[in-house]
Amino acid sequence: MSGVTDQLSPANLAQAQELGLSESEWGVILDRLGRPPNQAELGIFSVMWSEHCSYKSSRRHLRKLPTTGDCVICGPGENAGVIDIGDGQACIFKMESHNHPSFIEPYQGAATGVGGIMRDVFTMGARPVALLNALRFGAPEHAKTRALVSGVVAGIGGYGNCVGVPTVGGETNFHSGYNGNILVNAMCVGIADQDSIFYSAAKGAGNPVLYVGAKTGRDGIHGATMASAEFDDETEAKRPTVQVGDPFTEKRLIEACLELMQTGCIIAIQDMGAAGLTSSSVEMADKGGVGIALNLDRVPQRETGMMPVEMMLSESQERMLIVLRQGQEAIAREIFERWELDVALIGRTTDTGHMVLTHKGEVVCDIPIGPLADDAPNYDRPWREAPLRSVFSSKDLPPCNPANALQILMQSPDMASKRWIWEQYDRHVMADTIRASGGAADAAIVRVHGTDKALAISSDCTPRYVAADAFEGGKQAVAESWRNISACGATPLAITDCLNFGNPERPEIMAQLVRAIDGMAEACAVLGFPVVSGNVSLYNETAGTAIPPTPAIGGVGLLADASKAMGFGGAQDGDALILLGKTKGWLGSSLYLREMENREEGAPPPVDLAMERCAGDFVRSVVLAGELSAVHDLSDGGLACAAAEMALASKIGLHLRGGDRLSDAAWFFGEDQGRYLLAVKPSQVEGVLSAAKMAGIEVEQIGSVGGDKIVLNGAPLALDALRDGHEGWLPNLMENE
């Protein structure tokens, strides 16, 4: 594409295929236009119909997710989900992937992931108040892993720290299944007033279309298309498709947009994310039922000689598109100029229903909006689930020294302290962080500024369960999020999701996606935990090898009284330890089996959603009643790992007895779901036990707090040795040659 004339020349099937469109999709374009598209138009179709923008493989399945509930103000379909948190306030949040770019260029890939998700949230009128990140890297010993960890963490910190939004939580896993495709999922949570929420529907013709923020360059062109294809040996060559972030501009953009929002000038606003100016303008026009005419000569440009298609597909960061009420341009211009941001009137909404682009006096694109947005392909891809694994029998496992196993598990990659990561994130800016990473709670707790309320925020997924059984794994991810929020004393309200899978054109991968969504839908329905926003990232494959299926769940809950937030760091000498929930000793797909026996097999632990709800409601009630010293949910590594985290955070030892009729491995490391470990003052023990029994929950006193060792069925482990191993693993990996 070397000149304007080339842009206007008719495209052909081969060119469409090169941009990732199929023969049938090409046929639809010809049919809807009644002519072949020109080069610019083809580029626009290719990004709008990319998997990343159109959700063409997942759309029909996503519809199964519950998206309504008492707290839901706005569900999926807007830039982010909106829920009611009382007092006329709303919480606006979303999680999004930036996997492909982060693998190619980890610093900028991760940084722009953070920037993008923040824009989705402040676009709707919310001030971002918290960031979380769900990260999955390849095996620690893989040649690329350390550089990727280092770059991604620096990128996340470099962006969030500068903008001044605290990074309060997240999760990090390592597994060889991510060697060729890491996952970087960023979540942003914001707070807005309910009477000041902004949407993307550009209603009304003749209104000015304002471009604000950074200039447009050639970075990120076809990023959405890249994120819709597998990696191969040529991946390195895709580096130019990665965007470059500028958090200082983002900070100014946040302040300027929030200021403009107070003026009443805005009809619609949308950030330019994936597929940049194309998707933002098409989505705003489509939702508003209008057409849009843009003069591309007016687009602020960072480089010379940019072609229309380059401007339309650029994914340059920190840009917003705003449709204003007529005659209000001067107000907007004053605000953006004061914040030293580019501002340009680049077009108007129209009543034609078409997107018309002009460049150097020529119409370079004239296509109906309907086909671009609503007529995007919607596939019912074939799926075929692999035979389900049988339940693992632990009878033939070698005997276990539980103290030894605990030491090994607590310094294994997934369990080891991630301090090396979160100490690089500003967790306290805005001065409302009550619990962040390292804060010894199951969820991050962030006070709603100027109130006594707090949000509890958690990010969860156990990919090895989803790989073993996508339905149960999807269910479990939602249940664990609900459990983590409940353990803090908060009421779980709603979730966002980030569905990371391989190539959906392969039936076994499509089956993972379909079944995980089915499992999530069931859990959301039973737990009353609707999905309000989300993102799907497919084609996370390299040379035919897909990632473990990873539906990351970002949950949000509310605490009416922030001072009641509970964590697992408060266990006191003499406290009794109470185990809540049923223990069968489930070792299939457990961390113990993987780390100790090098076996990734067996069905994952099933979640009994009715019992989950019962146990969570009970835990929340005793937390709020002030009856506990500490509480921790049981997840990876089961009872012993939860107890170890409680002991480390509380800086005191504890004793746990052995299990009845269960081996030490099954009792201490089984991963039965729906369980919590409670530290309770002696005077409260009887009350908590009887109340739990009354609620129909299995409960037993299994140990006590005290000393400087963890003693598991008589086997001692010094707290200091445990801490050294737990804290030492990641620094050793990252800083020793």
Partner: protein, 224 residues
């Protein structure tokens, strides 16, 4: 008693500073935009943390040349109090209101954690409330907090009681464990730790309360 919090486009601790000052130092807090060339009549100028102009060059280098800085220099020259926290400290060294420089952390990474501090001088306008309790804990969050000055300057700072805070466990390579200093006159302070984040037990620590109480004492004393 009045205070001004300077707001650069990339300041991100300005709101926290305003809240902390209002709750613990004075009800009268103005926000002053970096492009203004005059200060309102105040006793204290507070330069908050953040990334003033993005800090892609040297942290604080561009901000030190912004229009408001001339007024701040004049305020300092007239004996008015100036406190720079984190990026504010970087700006004050770049503006030559304080000696030395803040280099990239020795570990080359951003560091956010609680820092145990000794209060080396409990007579200053910024630390008088720590009298008799010369240790505290205040969080740090910075990439460029590695304090550097030549030995002669360091000797003079130490000799004249201008070292105000020292790290117990040096997190960033700072010369002589320095976390905060003041000028020779004692009215301009820069420190890397964030006292405005350590004033509420619910959000962590309270080791910064003494800082804001000290300022209130100093401002009240100056008015007498």
């Amino acid at each position: 008693m009045k205070a001004a919090v300077i707001v650069f486009p990339g300041s991100n601790c300005d709101r926290d500073a305003v809240c902390a000052l209002r709750n613990h130092t004075t009800r009268h807090v103005h926000r002053v935009w970096h492009r203004d060339s005059q200060l309102p009549k105040v006793d204290l100028v507070f330069i908050p943390g953040g990334f003033s102009y993005g800090d892609y060059l040297r942290s604080g280098a561009v901000a030190a040349r912004s229009p408001i800085m001339a007024a701040i220099k004049e305020h300092a020259l007239n004996g008015g109090l100036v406190a720079g926290i984190c990026n504010g400290f970087q700006i004050l060294t770049e503006a030559r209101l304080l000696p030395g420089a803040l280099m990239r952390n020795a570990g080359l990474k951003f560091v956010c954690k609680s820092a145990a501090l000794t209060v080396e001088n409990t007579k200053s306008s910024f630390t008088n409330a720590y009298f008799g309790q010369p240790t505290t804990s205040i969080p740090i969050a910075h990439h460029d907090g590695n304090y550097y000055a030549d030995n002669e300057t360091l000797d003079r700072l130490e000799g004249e009681g201008q070292v105000i805070f020292r790290y117990v466990d040096n997190p960033n390579g700072s010369a002589r464990d320095i976390a905060g200093i003041c000028n020779a006159k004692g009215n301009v302070l820069g420190m890397m730790p964030h006292p405005e984040r350590a004033i509420d037990a619910l959000t962590g620590e309270t080791g910064g309360l003494g800082f804001f109480e000290s300022l209130a004492n100093a401002m009240a004393g100056a008015r007498k």
